[in-house]
Amino acid sequence: MEDLEGKPGQFTATVHQEPRYIDEDKCTSCGTCTMYCPKPVADFYNERLDVTRAPHIDYTQAIPASYYIDAKECLRVNFETCNLCAQTCTAKAIDFSQKPAKHKLDVGAVVMAPGFGRIDQEVLEKFGYGKYPNVVTSLEFERLTCASGPTEGHVVRFSDEKAPGKIAFLQCVGSRDESCGNGFCSSVCCMYAVKEASVAKEHEPDLDIALFFMDVRTQGKGFDDARKRAEEKYGLRVIRARVPRIAQVDGRLGLSWTTDDGESHSELFDMVVLSVGLCAPEDARDIAGLAGFELNHYGFCKTSSADPLATTRDGILVAGAFQGPKDVPESVTQASGAAAAASEMLADGRNTRTVTETFPDEDTELEAEEPRIGVFVCHCGVNIAGVVDVKAVRDYAATLPGVVLYENTLYSCSQDALTTLAEKIAKNRLNRVVIAACSPRTHEPLFQATLRSVGLNPALIEMANIRDQCSWVHSQEPEAATEKAKDLVRMAAAKAALLQPLEQPTVDVTPKALVIGGGAAGMTAALSIADQGYETVLVERSKELGGNLKRVRFLLDGADPGKVLKGLVKRVKKNPRIEVRLKASVESISGYVGNFTTTIAVGKKTELVNHGVVVIATGGQEYRLDSYLYGESKRVLTQLELEERLARGKTGLRNVRNVVMIQCVGSRGEDLNYCSRLCCTQAVKNALRIKELRPETDVYVLYRDMRTYGFAEDAYREARKQGVIFLRYDPERRPEVLKVGRGIKVRVFDRLLGEDIDIPANIVALSVGVAPGENDELSKIVKASLTSDGFFLEAHAKLRPVETAVDGVYLCGLAHGPKALDESVAQAKAAAGKAAVPLAKGKVPVAPLVSHVDKDKCIGCGICEKLCPFNAINMVKEGKRKKAETLTASCKCCGICASHCPVLAISMGGFTDEIIMAQIHAFGGDGCGQ
């Protein structure tokens, strides 16, 4: 981006585009240019651990799926010599006449997602990087463990290319380190180190791996669980210490460190992995300067906890690691949230610039002709061809009935291969296609789209998964794998011959949303959906809006939560598209995405609402306990109760000389099996407030790991500077709260002294964490599952973090898991963005594989209705008898109904009994039956 002019709604962005010197439309990704180019260049995709040539593609699956020329390295571009690539390219795709281009883009909003930058080389050098060959960065290690990396997944040390025996991971390299200017915590390294260590152990089970943590910060949903499992399964050694010192000793790496019991240790390792942090992108200042928004003191985008996706300039939004270090699930969540925020701003412009993809009419005549099957056997690079004899499989396909075309493809999913596929289908008048490649789960939609583009019904394709089911699982038996691939292709061709075109129905969407829960997340979601242009009904159980936010008195960034709350409530009440129902609860929900009908109980009355989507934002609750003298002594409070008291100012701390905070009360295995994520930051926030109000008060924080991730690390450091005393305890030796006369004291094991110490306390503040709300009933009503911890379960932790497994039902806020206000707000916007998709489209497609009941055969026994897990079958009275009927939009195509129907009246599109029998016969007819 070179310039950004204009105002929100009407920006003009100037974008400079460098030439690729290879025509994207002509390039077939064959790789000949790379092969002939004489100029070696560092392979940056592989972290410079490998070499490629000036013309290359970053990685096989890269998009665009076309090669490009590294202009800085190319001999032709720089010295007008060589030109070998242009001479050898058979597709004539090399084009040195390309010039840099300037684009003026008229846009209504801009979303900044430039990611994160790299930690300076100088910082890494402090840990021996560059000096000792066997000190590597975590990203280099990532490439080493990757099967498509420079060592094909073998972990080797660089000094001698041999497998290391012992590996150490050093955390907090370039993070939590003021000396390099990065005082923040990068939030992701603890977890990715555990992942890399686990993957390495899977590759080389004999490795001895030690991880050095200052604090183990695995606060994400399900992360502690995953970490514990990895530690046990792979025997990872966890050492809590400040970052060790490192020196080379006889070709090995000597680490020395001090643990918090005061003991010094040293040990030799063969390889050291530096878990490098995430810093601000290198060009953050340029981007911010051009676009006119502010950065924070670390050079990341400046945002507030009440509006984490807005930059300081209207119309410019932010998502991902540029807003602060974060992992994939949170980046994806913010991305959906930023999309929603842009959609709110530009609601009037919706559908004014989009173009609708059109497909040619289906050639029903061709479809009805005798099957003319084309079989395409994919190499998947070496993924399949490295084990399976793909040429033999192709030749075998030629012998199968109905097959008129049989070919190999290098990567059948690449853009050029799809184009070729379309051409071949048309040229050979194919009406059935078999792709012998990978999983239909991931790739079938691609091939289906190709069929549609040439006028064939997308149901007329069948995939044989010869990668997962042959080359991967039988990698040691190439001949048997090849035979199995032939079996699968024969079965697929038998099925293909019987495939029939399927209708692709759509259902209309009621353009209205139901948001359940009126806390910060629910209100934010309702406002976003309403601002995007759709009616919303907001249901709140209590008598007023606000939820847990009502009890929060301060925010770490200085914002006033009371004001944030008032602002939200006011906007909700004022918004003409939002109807609020207080003292209301959801009694039942029927229907399916696009067409839900919900019964809401409001006081003693009930009300029916028709809507297209549901957002679950039912919140969570403060964990309740009866230990640590809570409820017995007035001096024992929860953090929220302490916060309430601190809100009264200095009077709340009269005669309070000692405050002891205890972390992980309830959380992380005491009663709740997870980390509540926000309590460490909450404790630090309250400790700082105490120091501000009454500096002479001593504050102790007893913790297991201080998880002040992200920029909250600043506050943690500040608290230490202000004299707050942090003492780590072991979960096996939890602190005790004891009565002493009329007062209380806290007994805790001091690791440095090696004995119990008693701290007299005027106030004990328990960081009790977040318990799930009463989600069981709602979970049954909406059929959205809960995690074992009682929170709502997302459809996919990374790819679909705000969707549930039920179409049209989304989730956000504490209902999904413990999180801070800014994270709840971002997630609520994300849920609103996802929920608005069916509303904006107006129609939702129905999977064509749905079950179909032959009413003439149906005897009305009702078995299918009882068994269907999705309530997708209704018994409808027809004449004297009841007959089963499928609600196509609710059907998930599981096939349970069809498999249990006693009279075979139910068939599944694409999986009819006839087809399945044909596949079984094809399998048994050759090989197994003999």
Binding site: I63, H103, G108, V110, Y192, K841
Partner: protein, 57 residues
């Protein structure tokens, strides 16, 4: 003049790509601007992603 129905997303890593996909689904035209020759960002370099350790690509 009315508001534009197009949006520019700067950066083609996982955040930028997801934003672009969602915006397109919501009925907006998207310009996805990326410095490198391919989209995917750092996530494309990762072998696996936590906590489930499935393939990153």
């Amino acid at each position: 003049m009315s508001k534009s129905g197009a949006i520019m997303v700067l950066g083609g890593g996982v955040a930028g790509v997801q934003t672009a996909l969602d915006l397109a689904d919501l009925g907006f035209y998207v310009y996805l601007v990326e410095k490198k020759a391919s989209i995917g960002g750092v996530m494309a370099q990762l072998d696996k992603t936590f906590p489930t350790n499935d393939c990153s690509l």
